[in-house]
């Protein structure tokens, strides 16, 4: 039995392409029915499922809500939450889950399956932010921060807690998690060809052979899992997420996709991304893998751009606030910017299947931001030059991202 997809695909094309009648069928898209909302059914029942993603988004939210709770949280508790060990969550359903955030950080098929050395360094970064927050920063929580010394800093009437370099570790953790968990899993794992087309996925999808005991094919489910990392927060209506764009409780990728969409230079990016998710899923139902992969490219480009725009936005915001002497607000912006910069490593340029900005450049930018006393002494030139270099890899300008 000739089961493998490439051969099957070529064989299918042999048949169709060599008889001229069918050429148009290939060049024109197959009958893909794109629904208005993200709803797909088989035999009257939904085939959409992304519970696992919702679970991880809830775990992330609970970690983040405890990150600055110095009175009740501890290093051990947050590390346990990160790895889901020793039943750390207030939400018992999360404790009962076999899933953990940490196991999926820097864990995509495309970037990390043969790159566990770097993956382990990245996981260790997340651990280290927790540890530093709950040791050094916690110890100084009642002191004023200054260059080289962790402590409090005011942003207007709000209190922010920073390390000795002015970095808010909760922001570093949260914004880096957008890349390290969500973007990596979406772009480089679930939407990657080795995962979508693993083993007999194409054949089973063509035959509408569902997974055992499920109503979805494996490929449909992989696609939904990608969808779930972006749209799976419980406050987002599963089939029509943009109805709550910029109004949901999500604080990760969906939130920032909304914020970028609000900038008129990028208006429409949220709708286009949702359309691509719907169209790609419908293409899978129709068995049209060419159209599916076109949607993958759109999603990769848009989500990558979202990360880059926010990185530049915050670096520029931080620069302007520093110029006004508003250190608290500036450090807050730069901390977010640092996290988005960190997340750039997980972006995917569909032309190359690699990050838009090279890993060595990203590491270099991170070092520049945190060298010496970090945000206390970072220069406007440094912030501009990093911003320019990021924007240059995308099709937007620093000015467009910054407003």
């Amino acid at each position: 039995m000739k089961k493998l997809f490439v051969s099957a695909f070529v064989a299918a094309l042999t048949l169709s392409s060599c008889s001229s009648d069918d050429d148009t069928d290939i060049l024109n898209e197959k009958n893909i029915e794109v629904p208005v909302s993200y709803e797909f059914t088989r035999n009257g029942a939904s085939t959409v499922n992304f519970e696992g993603q919702t679970t991880r988004l809830q775990m992330s939210a609970e970690i983040l809500s405890n990150f600055t709770d110095f009175d009740n949280a501890s290093e051990e508790m947050l590390l346990n939450m990160f790895a889901n060990e020793n039943s750390p969550f207030a939400n018992e359903d999360l404790n009962a889950s076999s899933k953990s955030i940490k196991s999926k950080v820097a864990a995509s098929n495309l970037y990390f399956s043969t790159n566990n050395v770097e993956a382990s360094e990245i996981k260790a970064d997340f651990d280290s932010w927790i540890t530093e927050q709950m040791t050094t920063v916690k110890a100084n929580k009642d002191m004023l921060a200054e260059a080289g010394q962790a402590g409090q800093i005011a942003q207007g009437t709000r209190v922010r807690y920073v390390n000795g370099k002015g970095l808010e570790l909760n922001q570093a953790f949260a914004k880096s998690l957008i890349g390290g968990l969500l973007v990596d899993q979406i772009l480089n794992n679930y939407l990657s060809q080795p995962v979508l087309d693993e083993a007999d996925n194409r054949l089973n999808n063509d035959d509408e052979l569902p997974e055992e005991g499920k109503n979805y094919t494996t490929m449909e489910h992989k696609w939904d899992e990608a969808y779930g990392y972006l749209y799976g927060d419980p406050s987002i209506p599963a089939s029509n997420p943009n109805a709550v764009l910029n109004e949901s409780d999500d604080s990760l990728l969906f939130n920032y996709l909304g914020q970028v969409d609000e900038d008129e230079d990028f208006a429409g990016i949220a709708e286009e991304t949702f359309e691509a998710f719907k169209t790609g899923r419908a293409a899978i139902v129709a068995g049209d893998y060419i159209v599916r992969d076109e949607q993958v490219a759109i999603i990769r480009e848009n989500i990558s751009k979202t990360i880059a725009v926010r990185a530049v936005y915050y670096l520029q915001d931080g620069k302007n606030l520093l110029a006004n002497g508003e250190f608290g607000a500036a450090f807050h912006a730069l901390s977010e910017g640092y996290g988005f910069l960190y997340s750039l490593r997980f972006t995917n340029d569909p032309m190359t299947n690699m990050p838009y900005v090279s890993v060595s450049d990203i590491n270099n930018f991170k070092d520049q931001l945190l060298s010496g006393n970090g945000f206390w002494e970072v220069s406007p030139d440094t912030l501009d030059s990093i911003s320019e270099k990021i924007a240059a890899e995308f099709d937007f300008s620093v000015a467009e991202a910054a407003e």
Binding site: S7, K102, T114, D127, E198, I290, E294, I298
Partner: protein, 372 residues
């Protein structure tokens, strides 16, 4: 741009497809992998020159363990203890050359799970010893027997002197040790007898290229062994490759971890020898995956697939020389080296599971089940 590249791909494929008629059976025939490679001859080489001799060797080694355990428990002393330990280490090494052959009787009786589920469940072993009541035939007792249990029973009870004293004074310990040794030997004999009996013919005559044919089925097991048992079991789990948290106690032979790298190397070597069709004994070589792939002229990235796999197997061997002999200590001291080993192994997984199986027109019957 996207439209353009799609058209380009389609045209490229049309071109390729229309001209493929001249290419013969480059990657197997259209009707189901009916290339003319002699699968039967390969199966015969596998069975007669590799699998059967490897199981016969293993059967002799587990017999030695049983004999040594019987002798030691009859009259516990230092010399007998030393002999038993050596027999156990010998058997553990030999096991690495049969573990990948989980077909036929071995599959039916779950041979690998009974022989080498690790880490052993030491608290269950302790309580079964102290109650004196146990049934090693229960599937729930995988982690309480086999080689990892012997590792605990022979190396996890303190110094040699303390251990000999323990066995001298405690009937329950003696009887558990004997039961473990006996069962290991009888399971091995069962598998080995089956290969020396009818199963060999059943295996080599099933040359069909369907999913139930010997080559298809065996190849799935062989590649799965490499991915799950060798890569994940020996390196990935202890290194925390899946969780981000290293777990040194998951090392194979954790109580006698000085042999852990050797067990890993034995497994890699056996896997590689099988790929090349090297006979278990002597220097002979026969029909193998390597020859099959060369026959299929499988090309990837301009290099032949057999060559790519060879290079990767070499890379694994060469990386392994940077590991300490004690992998437990390696994990504790410098886990990066373990992760590097994992990465090299994973590169081979991709070549084997995607490229090789595709080239051989074999459908993968298992997937990485780590989605949600």
């Amino acid at each position: 741009m996207i439209k353009f590249s799609r058209l380009f791909i389609v045209f490229a494929l049309i071109f390729a497809a229309c001209s493929s008629e001249d290419d013969g059976t480059e990657t197997g025939g259209e009707t189901g992998g009916t290339d003319s490679f002699d699968r039967g001859a390969m199966l015969i080489n596998w069975a007669d020159n590799i699998i059967v001799p490897a199981y016969n060797n293993m059967a002799a080694k587990t017999q030695n363990v049983e004999t040594a355990a019987t002798a030691f428990t009859a009259a516990p002393d230092a010399a007998g203890f030393q002999q038993l330990r050596e027999a156990y280490v010998d058997a553990y090494k030999s096991f690495q050359s049969v573990s990948m052959f989980q077909v036929g009787k071995a599959e039916e009786i779950n041979y690998r799970s009974y022989l080498n589920t690790y880490p052993a469940n030491t608290s269950n072993i302790d309580s079964k010893i102290s109650s004196g009541s146990f049934n090693l035939e229960l599937p729930s007792s995988f982690a309480e027997q086999g080689l990892p249990a012997l590792d605990y029973l022979l190396f996890g009870m303190g110094t040699s002197e303390e251990t000999v004293a323990l066995y001298s004074s405690n009937e329950n310990y003696r009887s558990y040790l004997n039961a473990v040794a006996l069962r290991m030997n009888s399971l091995t004999a069962e598998v080995s007898n089956s290969w020396n009996g009818d199963y060999r013919d059943t295996f080599v005559s099933n040359t069909s290229s369907s999913s139930t044919g010997s080559v298809d089925k065996f190849t799935n097991d062989y590649v799965m062994y490499f991915e799950k048992i060798l890569r994940s079991g020996k390196i990935g789990f202890p290194a925390g490759a899946f969780t981000g948290t290293a777990s040194p106690s998951n090392v194979e032979a954790r109580f006698n971890a000085e042999i852990s790298r050797e067990l890993y190397l034995e497994a890699v070597q056996s896997f590689e020898d099988f790929f090349y069709g090297r006979h278990f004994s002597g220097n002979g070589t026969g029909s193998s995956y390597k020859q099959y792939l060369e026959y299929l002229d499988s090309i990837k990235d301009g290099a032949d697939l057999a060559g790519l796999i060879e290079n990767q197997l070499d890379a694994i061997q060469s990386q392994s020389s940077s590991l300490e002999t004690n992998l437990k200590s390696q994990v504790e001291k410098d886990n990066t080296k373990m992760l590097e080993a994992y990465d090299e192994l994973q590169k081979a997984v991709i070549l084997l599971k995607v490229d090789m199986m595709q080239a051989l027109s074999i459908s993968v019957d298992y997937v990485d089940s780590d989605g949600d």
